[in-house]
């Protein structure tokens, strides 16, 4: 299987950032992802939505192998993730992830949170790592918080640190799993703004979110999932104004209702 690496990489300079082929995932007996096929182009922004338990998190967590799949193949930047642990390591370096619960390291300062992985994984010097970190902290507009601990920050600030931390690894793709849903309403905007910034700079992004304003503004495509399947894929305008599937309509009805 590992032969594919080289061929795939050579085959196509304009290869997709992510490609999933017939992916199936079970949690013991529960079928969480069903025969997923998906291509995400470089620079593309994908928003994933759907009811709770539909498999959104599972889908994007497969992209950096936080969940292992039982069937199908996944390629990230042309490298086959499903071909072995060596590839997984390489891909995790190139894929940044932001979690709903931030998952900052509470025993490290903001700066240490941001420099740890570049130093340990990329072997960057401390000085250089700190310079990069300060650059990205400035980009997410909290340069002055570098020496605080996560517990001393507001939720919105913490989530922006999490984004900066992922960016410090200089990733080619960013995954976001409901990055604003643990935030108080007044902090949602500052995080969304940061993400919009990022989108305009051309980063490839896969975002699980129910923020339809965000989807409208930045998404190239919206993916609707239900019961482990991709039910509908469409451009945002089309998706919101004219959904094809009954299930999508029901869902959109519910969330606009709320």
């Amino acid at each position: 299987m590992s032969v594919t690496n080289a061929t795939d990489r050579a085959a196509d300079a304009g290869m997709p950032a992510v490609r999933m082929e017939g992916v199936d995932k079970w949690y013991s007996t529960f079928h969480a992802l069903k025969n997923i096929d998906l291509e995400v182009a470089r620079g593309e922004k994908i928003v994933v939505c759907g009811p709770s338990g539909s498999g959104k998190s599972t889908l994007i967590r497969c992209v950096n192998q936080l969940e292992e799949v039982q069937k199908g193949r996944i390629f990230v930047e042309g490298i086959e993730l499903t071909a072995g642990p060596k590839n997984v390591e390489q891909i995790r370096r190139d894929v940044g992830m932001v979690f709903q619960q931030f998952n900052l390291f509470p025993h490290m300062t903001v700066l240490e949170n941001c420099t740890l992985a570049p130093m340990r994984v990329r072997g960057v010097s401390k000085a250089e790592a700190e310079e990069t970190a300060r650059k990205f902290l400035t980009r997410v507009r909290i340069p002055e918080q570098a020496d605080k601990y996560p517990a001393q920050l507001s939720g919105g600030q913490q989530q922006r640190v999490a984004i900066a931390r992922a960016l410090c690894m200089n990733p080619k793709i960013m995954l976001f799993d409901e990055p604003t849903s643990a935030l108080d309403p007044e902090m949602v905007k500052e995080v969304l703004d940061t993400m919009i910034d990022l989108a305009t700079e051309g980063m490839t992004m896969m975002v699980v979110t129910h923020e339809m304003g965000f989807a409208r503004k930045v998404a190239d495509r919206v993916i609707f999932m239900d019961q482990g399947e991709i039910v509908e894929v469409a451009e945002p305008e089309e998706f919101f104004s004219n959904p094809k599937q009954e299930r999508t309509r029901t869902f959109l009805g519910q969330i606009s209702h709320a």
Partner: protein
């Protein structure tokens, strides 16, 4: 030949505290290393390692410390090295402490939220860095109180080394008691000495436990 309990007897017992402390220290140091290994094996992704660690823990938590001491004491020799009570007690208590600390620390490692490990994975950190920089420092904070609590148990456990002839506090008490036949004074004194060793640690452990509980409730 029966002699009264005098100042010499008093000092003989008090001085034996050093051997109790020395044995506790050795067992704790050994147990800390062993316990870390056991705890890491218990949470390892490699199944055989996990089972081996589990078996080790079950074995040492499921049999009396006294038997462990006897087995090491008489077994060491069978496997070649001439034994002395020091070595036997140190090895048996180390194994014993490894099992208990391993189980305690496994709990602490698992108490570190899963999101922390996932974040570390997502950043591409490898096992060593993940454990050293992310998981263990956070687990250590949780572990302090129960570890101090176990230290009390370990100090008390060293008293069993007396039964294989290691002269520490309890054995010193027995020897003096056999010479003075004054069990009230002798065992009273020995009990007081153990209490002086253990009580501050118990209080410390409880303090840290409540402090931690308060800290996590917030």
């Amino acid at each position: 030949m029966i002699r009264p309990f005098g100042i010499n007897e008093f000092w003989f017992i008090v001085m034996a505290v050093q051997w109790t402390l020395a044995l506790s220290a050795v067992a704790f140091a050994g147990g800390a290393l062993g316990g870390l290994a056991v705890a890491l094996a218990r949470v390892s992704p490699i199944a055989p390692l996990r089972y081996a660690a589990l078996g080790f823990i079950r074995l040492f938590q499921g049999t009396p410390l006294l038997m462990q001491l006897f087995l090491v004491f008489f077994g060491l020799n069978i496997f070649g090295s001439g034994i002395n009570p020091w070595l036997a007690a140190a090895i048996a208590l180390t194994l014993h402490a490894s099992a208990f600390l391993g189980e305690i620390w496994r709990g602490c490692i698992e108490a570190v939220p899963r999101g922390q490990t996932e974040a570390a994975w997502a950043l591409g950190l490898r096992y060593y860095d993940r454990m050293k920089s992310i998981v263990l420092p956070q687990a250590a904070k949780i572990a302090v109180a129960p570890t101090v609590g176990f230290l009390v148990q370990l100090i008390k456990g060293t008293s069993l080394a007396s039964i294989i002839g290691f002269v520490e506090l309890t054995r010193a008490g027995q020897i003096i008691n056999n010479a003075t036949f004054d069990p009230f004074t002798v065992f009273g004194l020995v009990a007081v000495l153990y209490f002086i060793l253990c009580w501050p640690l118990s209080i410390l452990a409880r303090r840290m436990e409540t402090r931690f509980a308060v800290a996590t409730r917030r």
